[in-house]
Structure formats: structure tokens, C-alpha cells
């Protein structure tokens, strides 16, 4: 049991970046992001016994993590809080990295305003999944995935423009 838990935590350590990205897409404040991160780890652990190693760990993890994020409820006491600030650090020494970080911050800020399914579509798109794979993972038709993804991208574009950023 201990070994299994350690093996699992090692896998999480290796994939923590992607869980963090999902948490950042679905929750706007750092406290809520941390809660969601913990919840995803918890749900992954609960389902870990049934992970058959037929697919890669990351494919399995995406599905469980997104299903968790889609139905995750914010803590009620924090529900009225919104965050429009630009958190995180912007590296001053590397101009390219600074540009990328600014772009990401605008992206994360805009993505908060998308519906839960739209966030999942955008996530899979950014992870280079095809329309067919997105449809399969979300349980919708390929056509529906294409239409909804295009709509989500349009919405995202408008939101980023509204933030005053060139798109």
C-alpha cells in the first residue's frame, strides 16, 4: 500500500504541471486552484486501482482530472471572490519568457469566463488532441466538438481583445 502510494505520488510529481494548468483554467483564485489541485489528486488516487495501463498515465489522468474539474464546486465562503489581478511573476531577464508569461496571464484571465465544457475543449486543443480524440474523451460527436471548440476560441479571442491585448 505504501509502495503503491509512493509510486502514485511519483507519477503525480512528474505530471503536476498539467494538473496545475487545469486548476488554473478552472479556478480564478490561488486558494481555489490549490483546492482543485488537491481534489484532482484525491480523485486520481481513488481511481488509481482501476488504471489498467492500457493507455498512458497522462491520457488517463487528463480524463479523470477534467471530469473532476468540470463538476468541482468552489468553497462557498469564497464564491463571491473574483480575481482580475495579474498574479505570478513576470521574468524580467528573458524578454521572450516575459512575453509568453504575459500572453498566458491574459489567456488564463479570459478562459475563466468560458463555460466548463468550453474550458475542457480548449485544454484538449492546447494539448494537440484532434477533434476526433476530443470528441471521444468528452463523449460528444466530432461535429459537435468542432463547432463548440471554434465557438470557444472565438469567445476567447473576444475576451482577450476586451482586456486590451492585441489578438
Amino acid at each position: 500500500m505504501k509502495n503503491k502510494e509512493q509510486e502514485f505520488l511519483a507519477l503525480i510529481e512528474a505530471n503536476k504541471g498539467i494538473i496545475h494548468k487545469i486548476s488554473r483554467m478552472y479556478m480564478d483564485t490561488q486558494d481555489d486552484q490549490q483546492d482543485l489541485f488537491q481534489e484532482i489528486v484525491c480523485q486520481l488516487w481513488k481511481s488509481y486501482d482501476s488504471f489498467k495501463h492500457q493507455s498512458s498515465f497522462s491520457t488517463w489522468m487528463y480524463r479523470v482530472a477534467l471530469n473532476t474539474a468540470i463538476v468541482f464546486l468552489k468553497k462557498e465562503k469564497r464564491q463571491l471572490r473574483t480575481s482580475d489581478q495579474m498574479p505570478e511573476h513576470i521574468p524580467a531577464d528573458d524578454p521572450q519568457a516575459a512575453i509568453r508569461e504575459t500572453q498566458l496571464q491574459h489567456f488564463y484571465r479570459a478562459v475563466q469566463k468560458l463555460e466548463r465544457l468550453e474550458k475542457a475543449l480548449v485544454f484538449y486543443h492546447l494539448e494537440n488532441y484532434s477533434h476526433r480524440e476530443i470528441a471521444e474523451n468528452l463523449g460528444i460527436s466530432e461535429g459537435n466538438a468542432r463547432v463548440k471548440l471554434n465557438r470557444a476560441k472565438e469567445k476567447l479571442k473576444t475576451l482577450i481583445k476586451q482586456q486590451g491585448y492585441e489578438f
Binding site: 484525491c42 480523485q43 481513488k46 471530469n67 500572453q103 460528444i140 476560441k153
Partner: protein, 200 residues
């Protein structure tokens, strides 16, 4: 900026040093609707078992006569059987953890229908017990001779109908409020997500 820029920034986002993975998994942190419902169910089960245990001592506490005690325990036995049946059903629901490995739509449908089914089970359980309680009251008032019962059975029939109706209505209102508080709001939230999956 365009989507290729976002993709490139997304792929190069590698500074994970500030992300802390827990050293131990705390499964009590669960905050999904199903988990919240499960915790409500645990509480309800404890309250119901405690109530049934207390109800066992009612005839002795109120010094019921032989006939009333017999009638009471007949109804009590049926209540225990009904409770046991529903507890088994609730237990299966409780154990059937929503499978987070399904595709997202199936997962959300499973959560939605599990919650809906549980609401209906809870409702039918409450009304089954309510009917038993009403049956017991009617038995006590009309079929068991005692001074109090005689006084009550001499009341106009309209009065008794009104009392029964108000009693039933109050239980029904309390049930619906409890259902909304414990399950309904989660069902509404899940339904809204489910609507996002519709074609078009």
C-alpha cells in the same frame, strides 16, 4: 497574439517549482457534489438509526396500554423493515462511486441520474414512513379504546381531516426543503453542466 502563440506559451510553461504535491493523500478533502451528498447521507443514516432506536422506547416511556403497545410495535416492525430496505438501496448508491474515468458526458450523466434516483428514493422512503405514522394515528384514535382517543374521535370529521392534511403537508414541505438543501442544488448545478454538452 494568436492561438499558436498561446499554444507555444502553454507548452513552454514549465516552471513547476512552486507547485507542491502532497506527501500524503488526504481523501477527506473531497469536494465534489457526489462527495457532499455522501457526507449528507452518512449524517442522515446516523440520525435515522438514532431515531429508530429512540422510538423503540416510546411505549414504555408513555405507558401505552397492551393494545396500543401491540399496535405500535406492529407499525414499528414495518418501519424497521422499510428503513432496512431503503438503507440497503442507499448503501448501494453510496458505494457506487461515480466513475471519473468515463468520458465526460457519461460521467456527468451518471452523477446526474444517481443524484436524481437518490432524491426519488429519499422521497418514497419519507412518504412510506409518513403513511405508517398516519396509520398508527388513525389506529390509536379510532380503534383503541381510551379516554383521550374517545375525546378525539368525538371531534367533527372535518377537524380530523384538517389535522391529517396539515400534518401531511408539513411533512411534505419539510421533506422537499431537506431534499433541496441536501441534493437539489447539486442536481441543478450538474444539470446546467449537462446542458452545455447538447449539440448545436
Amino acid at each position: 497574439m494568436n492561438f499558436d502563440d498561446i499554444k507555444s506559451a502553454w507548452n513552454s510553461e514549465e516552471d513547476n517549482s512552486n507547485i507542491i504535491v502532497p506527501v500524503k493523500i488526504d481523501s477527506k478533502k473531497a469536494a465534489l457534489p457526489v462527495d457532499k451528498i455522501r457526507s449528507n447521507m452518512r449524517l442522515e443514516a446516523i440520525v435515522q438509526v438514532a431515531a429508530l432506536m429512540l422510538m423503540y422506547f416510546v411505549p414504555a416511556y408513555y405507558h401505552f396500554g397492551v393494545v396500543m403497545t401491540t399496535a405500535y410495535y406492529c407499525v414499528y416492525g414495518i418501519a424497521v423493515a422499510i428503513t432496512a430496505y431503503y438503507f440497503i438501496r442507499f448503501y448501494f448508491f453510496y458505494r457506487r462511486i461515480s466513475n471519473t474515468e468515463l468520458n465526460s458526458k457519461d460521467h456527468i450523466y451518471a452523477v446526474y441520474y444517481d443524484i436524481k434516483l437518490n432524491i426519488e428514493m429519499y422521497r418514497s422512503f419519507t412518504y412510506a414512513l409518513l403513511m405508517l405514522a398516519l396509520g398508527l394515528i388513525i389506529t390509536a384514535v379510532f380503534f383503541i379504546p381510551s379516554a383521550d382517543a374517545a375525546a378525539l374521535s368525538n371531534k367533527p370529521i372535518g377537524y380530523l381531516i384538517m389535522v391529517m392534511t396539515v400534518f401531511t403537508a408539513l411533512i411534505a414541505i419539510a421533506t422537499e426543503i431537506a431534499l433541496h438543501r441536501n441534493y437539489g442544488r447539486y442536481l441543478k448545478a450538474i444539470k446546467a453542466i449537462l446542458d452545455e454538452f447538447r449539440e448545436g
